[in-house]
């Protein structure tokens, strides 16, 4: 026997009272509140979003000002950095090779592997 069966008569009495409550006016009221709440949330989120966009737009001139000259600086860094790096690497490599020629073979092997991998990657 289910536990609810022990008081089914009382449950039926309560349920009869609950079923007698008119559903439509209450449901309409709840859904009206739901829509109002939804609209209010949209309004708050929308206005906060607009305010954020406005603040961002105000920052735009300063941001664009920072960008002027950035491309030139990047280009210069990209052209000079590899040269400086390779020069330093060759110097280190020749020092290592002079101390022990095996290092030269290791470096040549590593360079060959990197070349092979990059060649396959491109294919």
């Amino acid at each position: 026997m289910r536990e609810q069966d022990a008081y089914k008569d009382l449950s039926d009495l309560f349920r009869a009272g609950d079923n007698a409550l008119p559903a439509e006016p209450f449901t309409r009221q709840v859904m009206g509140n739901v829509r109002r709440q939804k609209m209010m949330r949209r309004l708050v989120v929308g206005s906060l979003g607009l305010a954020g966009a406005g603040i961002a737009a105000l920052q735009l001139p300063a941001l664009l000002g920072e960008w002027v000259g950035v491309d030139r600086a990047v280009t210069a860094a990209l052209t000079t950095a590899p040269t400086e790096l390779s020069t330093a690497a060759i110097n280190q490599l020749s020092t290592a090779a002079m101390s022990n020629p095996v290092w030269l073979a290791v470096a040549a092997g590593a360079a060959f592997c990197v070349f092979a991998v990059s060649a396959f990657e491109r294919a």
Partner: protein, 174 residues
């Protein structure tokens, strides 16, 4: 007819019609529960309104299971919040006093019906009877909703139902 979890899933996607159907299905149970807990029809309906609004906000957290138990848990929490606002803090235990409801003289002279018989129970008994007998939750669900031990809920329901029957019988005899 679509099941409650289906409707809840659709409502979680923003489908208002699905949520309206859930409200239509469960409003009687929730309003009945809130009215009986609060001891007032107007307050009970207010609590039920807030319950469904909270349910709409949190519908995406409904993870299947009995929708009745889920919505009753929200209703119970809203009732507790309402009580806190009313500053009517009373310990839910067996020794809790019966809460007197504000009744007019005419109503007091009225024949004792089911609702009034319910109001003569202790607070804890009334809560358990409302949840299990009137709302139809299982003892385990009622224990989950209230956070009380299962044995406590069972004993309150048992005593509450016995008292309720006695009071109703006395009324009928009178």
């Amino acid at each position: 007819m679509r099941s409650d979890p289906d409707l809840a899933h659709a409502a979680a996607q923003g489908n208002e019609a699905a949520f309206a159907e859930l409200v239509r299905r469960h409003q009687g149970k929730v309003r009945g529960m809130a009215r009986r807990l609060a001891g007032s029809e107007a307050t009970g309906d207010d609590i039920a309104q807030v319950t469904f609004l909270t349910a709409w906000q949190k519908i995406s957290t409904y993870a299947g299971g009995t929708f009745s138990a889920w919505i009753c848990t929200i209703c119970w929490r809203e009732f507790l919040q309402w009580r806190r606002r009313q500053k009517m803090e009373i310990e839910f235990d067996e020794t809790a006093e019966i809460i007197p409801f504000d009744r007019s003289a005419d109503q007091n002279e009225m024949r004792m019906d089911l609702t009034r018989a319910l109001e003569t129970l202790s607070e804890a008994q009334r809560v358990c009877v409302v949840l299990c007998v009137a709302t139809g939750l299982t003892h385990q669900e009622a224990a989950d909703v209230t956070g009380w031990p299962l044995g406590t809920v069972k004993s309150h329901v048992l005593r509450g139902v016995t008292l309720l029957r006695t009071r109703l019988e006395n009324t009928n005899v009178a």
